[in-house]
Amino acid sequence: MTSTLDQPATIPGRFGPYGGKYIPETLAPAVAALEEAYAAARHDPAFWAELEQLQQSYTGRPTPLTFARRLTEACGGAQIYLKREDLAHTGAHKINNALGQGLLARRMGKTRVIAETGAGQHGVATATVCALLGMQCVVYMGTDDMARQQPNVFRMRLLGAEVRGVASGSRTLKDAINEAMRDWVTNPDSYYLLGSALGPHPYPTMVRDFQSVIGCEAHEQIRAATGRLPDVVIACVGGGSNAIGIFSAFVPETGVALRGVEAGGRGTTLGDHAARFSGGRPGVLQGTYTYILQNDEGQIGLTHSISAGLDYAAVGPEHALLHDQGRATYTSVDDEEALDAFQALARLEGIIPALESAHAVAEAMKLAPAMRPDQLILVNLSGRGDKDIFTVADVLGVKL
């Protein structure tokens, strides 16, 4: 994990013009304390040693790199490799961040943890870490998301977390974050375990650091497997934590193209998708300055995606900078393409991906045929799809 310490410093709190901390005054001291505690932990080898030990013995890291032979053959072009975050404990990359922040919370002497969740993967990861470390856990979740991710709601409750439904606004991730922040304003002694590379500084940097283990491993693994670096790295982008986690190791490798995939949803009208880069513009939401889906008045737009984890109006501020610099390209995949990729990966590789990750797989399936067979695509398979079987069955007209 030492490579994490080589990442750019946290101190400025900005990625170019993006980021910052647009928070109510009541939270300013809590956010400052978090910044200070993380800065200290970041340079404490004992902190990373404990995290690394848990990553191995508890999460099951390193997660494997899988060559998708039959998918590659079916596409007839570049070789497709999958970074298997779906095999991490709890079934997604979210555990990487939850474990890191959980240890930080314990180090800060916190006993109560608040979290928000969209698809439920971050909520499950946080509930898991709170069970492991013996902390109280309250998870906020939009009631629409609770309806479409019922298995994860039950899982969180089994793990001892209290799940609080949020019925305001669009009843999805954005509203869950509002409610979690209201809880934090009311209980500034609690630890807010934010699940993506979003929100006020230091979260975007801290979450990136904890997720960078994905990229560090994948960088080594693909070189070991193929003797070279990939031509393109693909990841889905909701808030953007799995994407920034795998991108971070490849940003300095200028020969490697980076491709973030947003949710194209069911159309290009505001409210029908979550493609912030093609449909949004810079603004401030929930503590950070970044690309946001909004109307001409600056009211935050509604979003839609078949996948709850990509269904959010803002994108992590570091992605905003990578976009403006042209270092990463952001594209979108719609509900139908994601659904096709979901089924293709299941049948061709025996892997049921999360609907979020299926967006990245779909993008690989679009790119591969136009590439040469000696070229390499690395896809971050950020999570597994067990949680999505009810949604998919519903769309396919199958009654479970």
Binding site: P29, Q294, E297
Partner: protein, 261 residues
């Protein structure tokens, strides 16, 4: 002297606590604020906080969230909030008017254009709950250019050195958050409030205005012993909600009169 400074100077001389009701533009009906503000001024309001609705008001409790949603559903736009201020001045409302809203709609409108248009309409200040001093530079400059006060917050969690800094950059008044939490009517005030206000007072001569949870005449009296003014928001919205639709202006005026009792 600004209208805000003059108002507090007069109230101080009279030994009175400033009463600052909060009205959400476009709530309960599109043009309600134009009816409500003159009636509330006649009932004893000294200043007004005029809410600008936002889709994601993360510092607000259920009451203001609901009012904000309803105002947006009524088609309320920032232009209309500015026009409302101009209309109130035309109707002879003299009390300082301080719009309050979240940062993004202001940022999209353009900070300099906003401060210019607000000043032109007769507004006196601006309150932005998600804009702490660290991020306020550009907005503060625009407000200074056009002669309106950017109002800063202090909270019970704010340490002394930060209060001192806010006191040096603040103008108009300091918005003292009465509790650690979101807005919303409360039955009782926080027991630590007098000590907190004393701590703030130590750092500044600016008027201290207390908001969040102020709901009754007893609260106004208690807070008035330690501060220069009070903001009453959710409790007033509740009074408007509970009134029959054709009587809410009169009931709101009664409620404000009752706060002086």
């Amino acid at each position: 002297m600004s209208r805000i400074a003059a108002t507090f100077a007069k109230l101080r001389a009279e030994g009175r606590t400033a009463l600052m009701p909060y009205l959400m533009t476009g709530y309960p009906e599109r043009d309600s604020a134009i009816q409500l503000a003159p009636a509330l001024e006649a009932a004893g309001a000294d200043l007004f906080e005029l809410g600008v609705p936002f889709s994601d008001p993360l510092a607000d409790g259920a009451t203001i969230q609901r009012a904000s949603e309803r105002a947006l559903a009524n088609g309320t736009r920032l232009e209309q909030c500015i026009a409302t201020i101009a209309a109130l001045r035309e109707r002879g409302v003299n009390a300082p008017i301080v719009p309050m809203g979240y940062y993004n709609p202001f940022l999209q409108y353009g900070l300099d254009r906003l401060a210019r248009d607000l000043a032109g309409a007769g507004a006196d200040g601006l309150i932005i709950p998600d804009l702490p001093p660290e991020e306020a530079g550009a907005c503060h400059a625009a407000c200074r250019t056009h002669g309106i006060d950017l109002i800063f917050f202090v909270a019970p969690t704010t340490p002394d050195d930060r209060i001192a800094h806010i006191a040096t950059i603040g103008s108009g008044f300091i918005y003292c958050v009465s509790l650690t939490g979101v807005t919303g009517a409360r039955r009782e005030l926080w027991s630590g409030l007098p000590a907190f206000l004393k701590r703030v007072r130590h750092h500044t001569d600016l008027p201290l205005v207390v908001g969040f949870g102020i709901s009754s005449a007893a609260h106004v009296r208690d807070v008035g012993a330690h501060a220069d003014g009070v903001i009453v928001a959710s409790a007033l919205i509740n009074a408007i909600d509970q009134a029959p639709p054709d009587e809410y202006v009169a009931r709101a005026a009664d409620f404000v009169r009752g706060l002086r009792a």
